[in-house]
Symmetry: C2
Subunit: 597 residues, 2 copies
């Protein structure tokens, strides 16, 4: 394998040869998936050596930069060390957004290059508009990362689809197609292009296995008033799935045909979310069509879970909670010996989860990070590179499972030995924020960005931030991160919270080279009383696992927080204890008994 600097050099040679001044390598795949993608698409990681799931690379003659966000700063610093690549910290003062950087740095009369299959129509248009003023050009058919990668590039995944029965989803594909068509009719659209990987899975009650830990398949969908076209490599479609499709009148077409099919659309009113439609595909649509560039209706449908999905999800969380409690008990029994490692711990947790009924796979790669490794929000311990767990400080474990009945995502920060006063104080501040959001009580119309401060406040009051959102939506046997809802501040998090949505609640503290603390539960949005002022709403916690009582500084909690904590622990015991062995049960009772001052 050649080094990162050599790869950059090869890209620069290609740039010179093809007369390109500045080259852009985003993180996305052909579907503009923002985070988890198949290895085939990880060009940014191939070129930079940075393995995090967010960011992009920009290369000029004299500069090579990797942009990534706050969750990955510490990790990126380490992984970029010794390379020619500059770390560009997204959203930090003085750091331009990558698209703005491209606009600024493309020279007058110059040429910007990228692979138009992995750049959204929105970004491509923004770039084109801005560069026109400079008389600069765009070439969007250049996959330099792919060329340098050559025969070492991983294959496109090709696993089989499978059907997720209605007993888990609560609706047939027929019903879901009808809902999609009703939304199209309301919007006045005759054609809907679906590019998000989760959308066809949700509509058709199928799942795939193309991305690690995310049960989706690389496929597109086109819905018209009378037809449903599904674009996928045929080898992924088994006889059983073929029958399932036939039942619902779904026409299967080759994955690569979508572009050609789009080129035949004329005078249509097409609903397409242009930030998830690639510039390459978008270029196949001509101006006789009217484009409705709005969020896909499926994203909203997916986010609002029906009763069957909710009941199933809660069931998955009970199994998951039992696995987590067993894990915590095991850690507590064994940590003192000092022979655990991040890898042995995470492997044991994988094993425990796998015992759950209907378990499929982890819902994302487990983050099992001892002490200072926890400061890297998306740390990944490997056989080659991991830390032993000593008998002091914190072990941060962020993990989850995909079961046939639901998807889980939970973080616990575990005291594996003696804690310092600062560690306890910070843990308690994080817990205060976590309980603050959990206890939120709000009117319909509230969005995540109205509530974010409830989680962030105890840390912001100490001039500490966690540089990421407080919470994200969770898919139903789909992506562990899903929109449109989120809990975040600034410009993000503005989707209204609807009853049936799930959001995570995961504030944290990340002190580079020192420690990481995160506490995460999943919260279900539910309706409360309706009165003169409107519909009142609150959260119901669907994660069942105790907090780290050894790390709680009770004097820092107010009465309301203490009551919330005790009520939650009581619920955890009642819910999970039936699935435990006697010793685990005894331990759970001891850590969930009411805390008093």
């Amino acid at each position: 394998m050649i080094t990162v600097d050599e790869r950059i050099r090869e890209v620069r040679q290609l740039m010179k040869r093809r007369k390109i001044d500045i080259y852009y390598v985003p993180n996305e795949d052909d579907h503009l998936s923002a985070e988890y993608t198949a290895p085939y698409f990880r060009c940014k990681s191939f070129l930079s050596g940075f393995t995090g799931e967010s960011g992009c690379v920009i290369i000029t003659k004299s500069f090579a930069g990797l942009w990534t966000d706050g969750r990955y700063f510490t990790q990126a610093e380490k992984e970029l060390e010794g390379t020619c690549i500059t770390l560009m910290r997204l959203r930090q003062e003085g750091v331009p957004d990558p698209i703005d950087f491209l606009i600024q740095k493309t020279p007058k009369n110059g040429v910007l290059g990228f692979d138009g299959r992995v750049v959204s129509a929105v970004n491509a248009r923004k770039l084109a508009d801005a560069l026109q003023k400079k008389n600069a050009k765009i070439r969007m058919d250049e996959d330099f990362a792919g060329e340098v990668w050559g025969k070492d590039r991983p294959y496109m995944p090709a696993d089989r689809l499978w059907v997720l029965p209605v007993k888990y989803t609560g609706e047939t594909a027929e019903q879901r197609i009808a809902r999609v068509r009703a939304a199209m009719k309301e919007k006045g659209a005759d054609t809907l292009i679906l590019t998000r990987l989760e959308d066809p899975c949700w509509i058709l009650n199928i799942r795939g296995n193309d991305i690690e830990s995310t049960p989706v398949a690389y496929a597109f969908m086109l819905v018209t008033k009378t037809r449903v076209f599904y674009y996928i490599d045929f080898e992924k479609v088994s006889a059983e799935v073929k029958k399932h499709f036939a039942k619902y009148g779904v026409a299967v077409r080759p994955y690569a045909m979508l572009g050609k099919d789009l080129a035949t659309l004329r005078k249509r009113t097409i609903w397409a979310e242009l930030n998830t439609l690639s510039a390459a595909l978008y270029s196949r649509l001509d101006s006789s069509n009217t484009i409705i560039n709005e969020m896909s209706p499926v994203q909203q449908f997916r986010a609002v879970k029906n009763e069957t999905e909710i009941n199933n999800t809660v069931n998955a969380h009970i199994k998951d909670g039992a696995a987590m409690v067993k894990f915590l008990y095991w850690i507590k029994q064994n940590a003192e010996r000092g022979d655990l490692t991040e890898v042995s711990a995470q492997n044991y947790l994988y094993e425990l989860r796998a015992q759950g009924e209907d378990y499929i796979e982890p819902s994302f790669p487990t983050i099992c990070a001892y002490q200072e490794n926890g400061a890297m929000m998306h740390y990944n311990a490997t056989e080659e590179n991991h830390s032993p767990i000593k008998a002091k400080g914190f072990l941060l474990v962020d993990s989850g499972g995909t079961y046939k009945d639901g998807t889980t995502d939970i973080t616990r920060t575990i005291a594996v030995g003696k804690l310092t006063a600062e560690e306890k104080r910070l843990y308690t501040k994080v817990l205060k924020g976590h309980l603050g959001l959990m206890g939120a009580h709000f009117l319909y119309g509230t969005a995540g960005n109205n509530l974010d401060i409830l989680a962030r406040r105890p840390l912001w009051n100490e001039n500490i931030d966690y540089q990421c959102g407080t919470g994200h939506g969770v898919g139903h046997v789909l992506s562990v991160h899903e929109g449109p809802q989120s809990v975040a501040w600034g410009r993000r998090g503005n989707a209204v919270l609807e009853a049936g949505m799930i959001v995570t609640d995961e504030p944290g503290v990340y002190l580079p080279d020192k420690l990481g603390i995160r506490i995460e539960n999943e919260l279900l949005v539910v309706n409360g009383e309706k009165n003169f002022y409107g519909q009142w709403m609150h959260f119901e916690t669907i994660t069942f696992c105790p907090y780290e009582t050894e790390a709680i500084e009770v004097s820092l909690l107010d009465d309301e927080e203490l009551a919330l904590l005790n009520a939650y622990h009581k619920k955890v015991y009642e819910t999970v204890s039936p699935f435990l062995k006697p010793k685990e049960k005894t331990w759970l009772r001891s850590v969930t008994k009411a805390i008093t001052r």
Copy 2:
């Protein structure tokens, strides 16, 4: 005077004669001012009898509705009683937005009518786009309210302009024009149309007297790369102001000429905020122009106060605080006798404020509302219609002054006698919310909608809402309500808080027919520490007046809230006491001494 029902009947006759199916009467003036306008423009109030400063009227053959927002529900119910007009409660479930209602109710092939001078280009375009699908038409040259009003309609105001010296504003008109031109250059605009009444006042360091309690003049402005045109009735321009304009090269043009001048613009890149540009004026621009429809740069400039403006504003608040303390002392001395009225109290407060140096006028009509009247957020006591102040319960006083050095806005809810336990509890909940926002600590990038919950939470936790924003910006010797910043939830309040901005902090409880409680201070946004996470910010309170200690239920406050309250009261005493008479001073000391459990 004819009755409301007769007026509606006359409008319906005009509708029939001119073949109009549905007629729309908004609240705005020719500048799309959303709230305070000259009496000449109050067509909605003339037709409906509803005197609140927000809302609109829609009339069809069989329906007449008045839309208004939560601040006015109780008032509107009373004022509409016995008329044919239906109250439409804005933002309540099942109540369509008025523009959507117009779209729904205009019949196929029908005609919608309004006066295009008082409807924004944005709304007119939205209506036109939607009605086109129904083959319905719009007639925007019909001022039916004006026709029915006839010779009783008030005149357009015609008071003189005056110059606000640089010692108050900190910048010359030349400097401000230069800043505007720099913003235009950055945006690529060669022409800027300013319609908001405050914008030309701010740029030119002038003030007017066309709207009660708001020192602005009815005028438009057009800024090009080399010229500044100011459209106003000539009689408003004194010799002194003429000289001032000449000094800065401002060309004065007749108010009514803007439309004709716009019609001469060709091939320009015009920056105009289309929600404050009337449909009538917009129709004068042709398609050879490129329109940049973004917020006027002046609104942002005005909102971020410079050091001179801040120092002056603080000075105005000290004078204002002294007047308020004298008022509170006077109420406390006299309320027991039981012979005060809302009107006598507000008149005395006007008198006290008028004694302040550089006092101009109230910054808005004082709301002096005893007990249940306080439930009407914008209640207005008049000689003809007001309540006596009995020796029990609350008197809510929301008032402010415009001084040459600044604008103030303060609300205190005063115990005028014995309080019930519920009154104390609710007062304390409001105070908790008020202190919650006051104590906010946040990172740069935070908007008002991220912080709103801090004020609303103690009430939302009891399923009570106050149905309006928590806070608004305040102009500098301009409107008491100004944007772009605000503290609100849902879709509002999304402007980033910048150091130098002012917002009010005014949560409340409004129980119809029972009571109203509101506590309001002005907060200045200031920078704190800057560290690894970014620029930390907080608020500095610039209102100096004690809260109602008789209404505080100390057991409901947590330690943090109590500390904030005591520190504030200490600051109030230190700031205001030098301006008081001995007895007032003694009283202030007694009500500002530290509260302990």
